[in-house]
């Protein structure tokens, strides 16, 4: 197995005048192998999307990478020139955004938009571009691709638009694909279709996928590995079924307990029992001290948690690490 993406101690902050940048991401490390899927999970404000944008070199104005390395097949993306990044984006790495309506240009047909990727990176001619575009639309299971080529984004349904985004992202067979909540804007039956499609295409192309999601329950079947982020820090990571089945960090446990999962058959719950809730909310930027970021919301918080800074990721089982002082007691 070869490593496609390696993120090493990545730190991102918001520049604030002359003072030190306010940290958004702190010491984030993970790796993605060829043909594997890595999931980043957490609530909004935890830094999932910022990680994706940092990898793509698309951080919004004001955000700066304050430390660490991002290696794409050994090439450091943080020191790469803008010209080099431009030729990598869409070619070696690409991204599927959450909201397909805003990610597509409403003024161009979808044929133009998928074709642009091929013309730019592959220098294909007009006829070849058209032929390839049709092939990609067919690969993402869009019916009547010859006619859809000339359709504008507003003429397509949400599911179709997301398929166009996938076709566009995979047009140059990238080695790394970042999918930022690719199905949140879609209906449930369409969500299942999109995930099936992504899995099928991944099998064919052996693309490494970084999947950003807030649904921890669904992670075990969508991803091989998972990292749970909280307030810009990775608090638990490992092989997905291991993390889901033996979650150690109180936050991961809370996330798993607060999603009402569908129960089927006669044993389906008939009486309402309150959902497990995590009180409070993610601490805002700038008010995150060196101690455990989850301290204020944690029901297991103890003197040791208050007295010491957030612990480093500690092995908690085979291919499973967790950042919690009390993880051994919690597991017991």
């Amino acid at each position: 197995m070869s490593t496609v993406l390696q993120v090493d101690n990545l730190c991102v902050g918001i520049a604030s005048g002359n003072r030190t940048p306010v940290p958004v991401l702190e010491n984030l490390s993970f790796e993605v192998q060829r043909g594997r899927t890595m999931a980043l999970v957490g609530e909004s404000g935890c830094g999932k999307s910022m990680t994706a944008l940092a990898i793509m070199g698309l951080l919004p104005e004001g955000f700066v990478v304050t430390g660490g390395r991002i290696l794409l097949e050994g090439e450091d993306l943080l020191t790469a020139s803008r010209r080099r990044l431009r030729s990598l984006r869409g070619n070696a790495m690409s991204m599927i955004f959450q909201e397909p309506m805003t990610a597509l240009n409403p003024l161009y047909t979808i044929g133009d938009q998928i074709g642009e990727v091929l013309r730019w990176h592959r220098n294909l001619g007009r006829a070849d571009t058209r032929e390839q575009t049709i092939a990609f639309l067919r690969a993402v299971q869009i019916p009547a691709p010859e006619r859809r080529l000339n359709a504008y984004p507003h003429q397509l349904s949400g599911g179709m638009r997301q398929r166009v985004m996938i076709a566009m992202a995979l047009a140059c067979k990238p080695r790394l694909l970042i999918a930022d909540e690719p199905t949140t804007a879609l209906d449930v039956t369409v969500q299942a279709q999109i995930f099936d499609l992504l899995a099928k295409l991944q099998d064919e192309t052996e693309t490494a996928v970084v999947l950003i999601t807030h649904d921890l329950g669904a992670v075990s079947e969508l991803a091989h590995e998972v990292s749970v982020l909280y307030a810009g820090r990775c608090i638990e990571s490992g092989v997905s079924h291991e993390v889901i089945e033996h979650a150690r960090h109180p936050y991961t446990r809370g996330l798993l307990a607060c999603v009402p999962h569908l129960a089927l058959g006669r044993q389906a719950a008939k009486v309402w029992s309150d959902l497990g809730e995590i009180p409070g909310m993610v601490p805002p930027l700038g008010s995150r001290g060196p101690d455990c970021a989850f301290l204020a919301r944690c029901s297991y918080a103890d003197d040791i948690c208050r007295a010491r800074p957030q612990p480093p990721l500690d092995p908690a089982g085979p291919q499973h690490t967790v950042s919690c002082w009390r993880h051994a007691e919690i597991a017991a």
């Binding site: 609530e43 179709m160 369409v190 999603v259 089927l264 058959g265 995590i278 909310m281």
Partner: protein, 350 residues
């Protein structure tokens, strides 16, 4: 409109029914494609009937474009009903305007999906919660202020929150404000239109627990609209599944997930089932492909015919009625007696 599409009425205690929707139609003009053709019509809601009992939660589930939000807006009189009756507290409220409508809204409130656009960014939170009280002339000035403070406490916000502006709150807190505003006139029925869909999972659980606690304490009735079957199952007593403007199946929550009867319900359940061998089996057999078709000038016959794996010619020609198939269990499918429902109990047991 055809009377045959209405739900067969069971002998229900009349006083227990708080809201009864009879054969509701909501159509919109969608502009002309050619000056010589008649304007096309969006059939957003097409003959929907249901009853909501006092103190219970009625869930409506469906994909986007199924007409669930339009149904909610028609009940609230936010869009005009094209036809049909909406009987609330033994009075037909369809088509009411002005002061009579205002008096109805004292008992009928709504919580919207997006707490960011549902609050006025230029007014303080306390003023916005007080607004329904001011408009409905409830209590004296000091009583209203007192009630605002009490409401903030009930939804779990500190009294100082009254002086803040919406941008100073997080998404979950804003939804709490919206709930406090809906509670202010002490309504009987609150329509929750995707009230938790825009929130993070952890915050979603907080809001659901809050809504349930308020229901217990105040005997509230909810119409709860969502696309998330997991949430719907936990939260609702009775559930209607909508597809393209029609109810295709309606049943008490326990029955719907133990013995679903409509092929569309099977597909929804397959898509939402927890991961595992059961889900693989369900998706293989029952998950349908494609997108819901457009509700503009829908073809005759069953609305689901285009995507249904069990479709026969009859389905494309004649529209099925919502028939009673069990105790308070209704389904609209021509082949209901032939199609064997998925044996979920056997599958979950194995």
């Amino acid at each position: 409109m055809t009377a045959s599409t209405s739900v067969p009425i069971q002998n229900q205690d009349a006083s227990a029914v708080l809201l009864s929707v009879d054969d509701l139609f909501v159509h919109f003009q969608a502009g002309k494609t050619s000056p010589f053709k008649p304007a096309s019509v969006v059939h957003a809601v097409d003959g929907v009937s249901f009853r909501v009992r006092r103190g219970t939660t009625f869930g409506i589930v469906g994909e986007s474009g199924s007409g669930k939000s339009t149904t909610a807006q028609a009940i609230m009189q936010l869009v005009p009903a094209t036809a049909g009756r909406i009987v609330f507290r033994d009075k037909d409220i369809a088509g009411l305007t002005g002061e009579p409508l205002r008096q109805v809204r004292k008992h009928l409130q709504i919580v919207f999906q997006d707490p960011f656009s549902a609050l006025n960014p230029r007014r303080r939170a306390g003023d916005q919660i007080r607004e329904p009280l001011d408009l409905l002339h409830i209590g004296t000035r000091s009583e209203r202020d007192e009630r605002v403070r009490r409401l903030l406490g009930e939804v779990g916000l500190p009294p100082q929150a009254a002086d803040l502006f919406p941008h100073q709150f997080s998404g979950g807190q804003r939804q709490r404000l919206c709930i406090a505003r809906a509670l202010a006139p002490e309504p009987d029925l609150i329509v929750c239109d995707e009230a938790v869909s825009a929130l993070d999972v952890a915050i979603q659980a907080q809001i659901l627990n809050l809504l349930k606690r308020l229901q217990r304490e105040r005997g509230l009735t909810y119409i709860f609209i969502s696309h998330d079957l997991g949430v719907i199952q936990q939260f609702c007593d009775e559930i209607a599944v909508m597809y393209l403007g029609k109810i295709v199946e309606q049943a008490p929550a326990a029955d719907l997930f133990a013995a679903p009867r409509h092929p569309y319900t099977w597909s929804l359940i397959a898509a939402a089932a927890p991961p595992g061998p059961l889900r693989d089996e369900l998706t293989r057999r029952y998950l349908v492909g494609g997108d819901p078709p457009s509700p503009i000038n829908p073809p005759p016959g069953c609305r689901f015919a285009e995507r249904c794996p069990s479709v026969i010619t009859h389905c494309r020609e004649t529209e099925p009625h919502l028939d009673s198939i069990g105790v308070e269990h209704y389904a609209a499918c021509h082949r209901i007696r032939e199609l064997a429902p998925p044996d979920i109990n056997a599958l979950t047991a194995s």
